[in-house]
Symmetry: C2
Subunit: 426 residues, 2 copies
């Protein structure tokens, strides 16, 4: 396809999605759940076509010399397929949220006014590598009564096409329009530019991927974007706190996994507990090979730990999202300095306080301006599943519409409902 | 100021607003309410400086030859001042919404997860003429714990400065930062361009004004916009319905006032009731001088009404927001055609069905994709006060974040709160 044809093609997808979205919005719960269960069944019944398509992607990736971890992320193993199939079944079992009317109250004029939960309409999702995201996005879209247009990574195009074909069959089986979930079937980059600039057809764009992609989309999109920019998360060890608990949580928050966005990247320690706490956590980090970049006070305490990899933190370290076995460490006077530091350097994703002081906990929750604020828990909990959302379409670092983990509710909106008996405005 | 100085000046306002917003977010309810009551008192105690500033605006407007209705909108009469003062007192009496934690539930890991209502941070408001909007926006901003930057119309600059000065005094009296509410004190148009392009300082822009202004801001803003584009509202008279009630409501929806965005611009009538209903409403519209632009079927019934101003509707009429004594009229087969017509031509602001049929009412509520959907009530009720919001910062025709009348809640967001006892992620 040339650029003009690509634009026209994506435009057609948009028009079809808009038409399908009206059918999806009015579909009842039983119908949508039937489509989700059919999708789970089709995923389990079709290992061969999925494996063949996936093999083509894998062969191409290997011959292109993609690094093995990248190739692994492309792999549609039986376990990956079973996991997404289970996800579809779980969504089918979740309560319906569309059509709910909340807060219906009678007003002085006599009218009763409430709000009804409705789908946003059409969302566009742009993601990289892992083909299982195709099913996650499709199933969330079906359950929430939206239509969606999916643009996966070019390296997974064959797998994504095979998965999208099953989604279309599942929708048709339930009597829903297959155009409710459409895959952009070209790897042309022009398609993204068109997808993010059709406010008449697409209500919101959800990008998932590297910072470069997200920034480009935020800059160029002509529709709202639910975006996750970065995760510079903090754990603040307060005075007073339960030191053993603080050590266990600070360990987990940094080292349970290094790559997730909710791993702690900055450790703040109140001066009153630093001499006791830092050598203990320093020993654990040293054992696990975590490099510590500290301010002078933290360094003095950490340098004495046998085997510790320490160095002086630079100003840049306070803002850094390492996604690696590295952590910045700073000794602070107390709560005020901790909150000020976090509000200045955090990416407003997730920040935690470990404390015994109830007033400090309350102030931290209230004053730290992040999507997730935690007391005495690991920042690694910032996740749609851990929060009980049942599923997650992404994590938002924005304040508008949805913050933090975004589940079904983030794909909906509330419209006003007015029930009258012939009232007129005086 | 030259363009560079204007940009620098607005940038400084942004920085100050961001700093003030942290103080506002953590302010307790009593403090914010003290500021609101102080503002009400100062408005009542200072008629002279307000009148003088306003007189300067009025003199300038008159000598510039502004049409009398425009000059009237600028006028800060004692009644206008008393109304906004009462609004401040009413906001002070409303329950606090910031800091509320909703839906706190324990998860399988042991953590308890809920959501806390928090201010958005800083909003920018761009509005035209009426200076009372300065106080409405300032008081909503204070109550919701936000900071704001207000850009009023150049023709009201002196009045706005005088009002903003009182807001600053009221904030200071309550111990809150006066920079929490700042007026852009220059009429330079460059200031708007800067205000809408500072995502680091401004979280959302709320424009109120003509369609040209809104479209320009939507196009150029680099932050989210809560916008009201236009109001092409419909009233659908269903079969079966209470004809007397339908006549009263269709009359009110069109003629109670012609200029508001929630006035009905399109009347749809089910074929089964058209012969009975249209001559009755036609007589009322004819008496009030409302011009009727109908399809052939409607015209045939309306043309027989003595004194009726009728003409054939063009395709453009179905999309038109008249804001005038004009209405488009179409006979439809029934509910399906009415919903299809509305979803195609409506501006998704407010649409109403007048019916006796419960199933039709349910389908209309569910399937019409508008910010407000009504059963047996006048579209003129689509308003923050009528909906019990206590105050209204604007009406949104978007789906994202907030739809329809936007009150205090629309200026807030929910952040996640996690309460643990040392839980770690497995």
């Amino acid at each position: 396809m040339n650029a003009l044809n690509v634009a026209e093609y994506v435009h057609t997808l948009g028009l079809q999605a808009r038409v399908a979205s009206a059918r999806m919005a009015s579909a009842d719960a039983a119908t949508k759940n039937r489509a989700l269960r059919a999708l789970a069944r089709l995923l389990r019944e079709n290992p061969a076509p999925l494996a063949e398509a996936n093999a083509r992607d894998l062969a191409r990736a290997e011959s292109a010399g993609l690094p093995p971890p990248m190739v692994d992320r492309l792999r549609l193993t039986p376990k990956v397929i079973e996991t997404v199939a289970q996800g579809c079944d779980q969504l089918a079992a979740m309560p319906e949220l569309i059509g709910d009317i909340v807060g219906l109250q009678q007003q002085p004029s006599g009218i009763r006014v409430g709000r009804m939960r409705v789908p946003l309409g059409v969302f566009g999702m742009i993601f990289e590598s892992r083909p299982n995201v195709t099913i996650e996005a499709a199933s969330l879209s079906i359950k929430s009564g939206n239509a969606c247009i999916l643009r996966g990574g070019s390296e997974a195009i064959e797998s994504n096409k095979a998965l999208a074909e099953l989604v279309g069959r599942a929708l048709a089986e339930a009597g829903l329009p297959p155009e409710a979930v459409q895959l952009v079937a070209t790897t042309d980059r022009e398609a993204v530019g068109q997808l993010i600039a059709m406010p008449e057809y697409v209500d919101v764009i959800i990008p998932r991927g590297g910072k470069g992609l997200i920034e480009r989309i935020s800059r160029e999109a002509r529709v709202p974007v639910i975006k996750h920019l970065d995760g510079n998360c903090h754990t603040y060890v307060d005075d007073p706190c339960d030191i053993a608990m603080a050590v266990a949580v600070a360990d987990n928050a940094k080292t349970q996994k290094y790559s997730p966005c909710n791993a702690t990247e900055g450790l703040l320690v109140a001066r009153g507990v630093a001499a006791e706490f830092l050598p203990l956590i320093g020993r654990i980090y040293a054992d696990k090979g975590v490099e510590m970049r500290g301010d002078a006070e933290a360094l003095a305490l950490l340098a004495a730990v046998p085997g510790a990899k320490v160095q002086a933190a630079t100003e840049e370290d306070w803002s850094e999202e390492y996604l690696a076995p590295v952590i910045s460490v700073k000794v602070v006077e107390g709560l005020d300095e901790a909150i000020a530091h976090i509000n200045r350097y955090s990416s407003h994703h997730t920040d935690a306080i470990l404390t015994r002081d109830h007033m400090h906990a309350q102030r931290f929750l209230r004053e730290v301006d992040s999507a997730s604020v935690m007391v005495n828990a690991s920042t690694r909990f910032a996740d749609g599943f851990e929060y009980g959302l049942g599923a997650e379409i992404g994590i938002s670092t924005d304040k508008f519409h949805a913050r933090g983990p975004v589940g079904l509710e983030g794909l909906t909106s509330l419209k006003w409902v007015v029930l009258g008996q012939g009232e007129i405005r005086q």
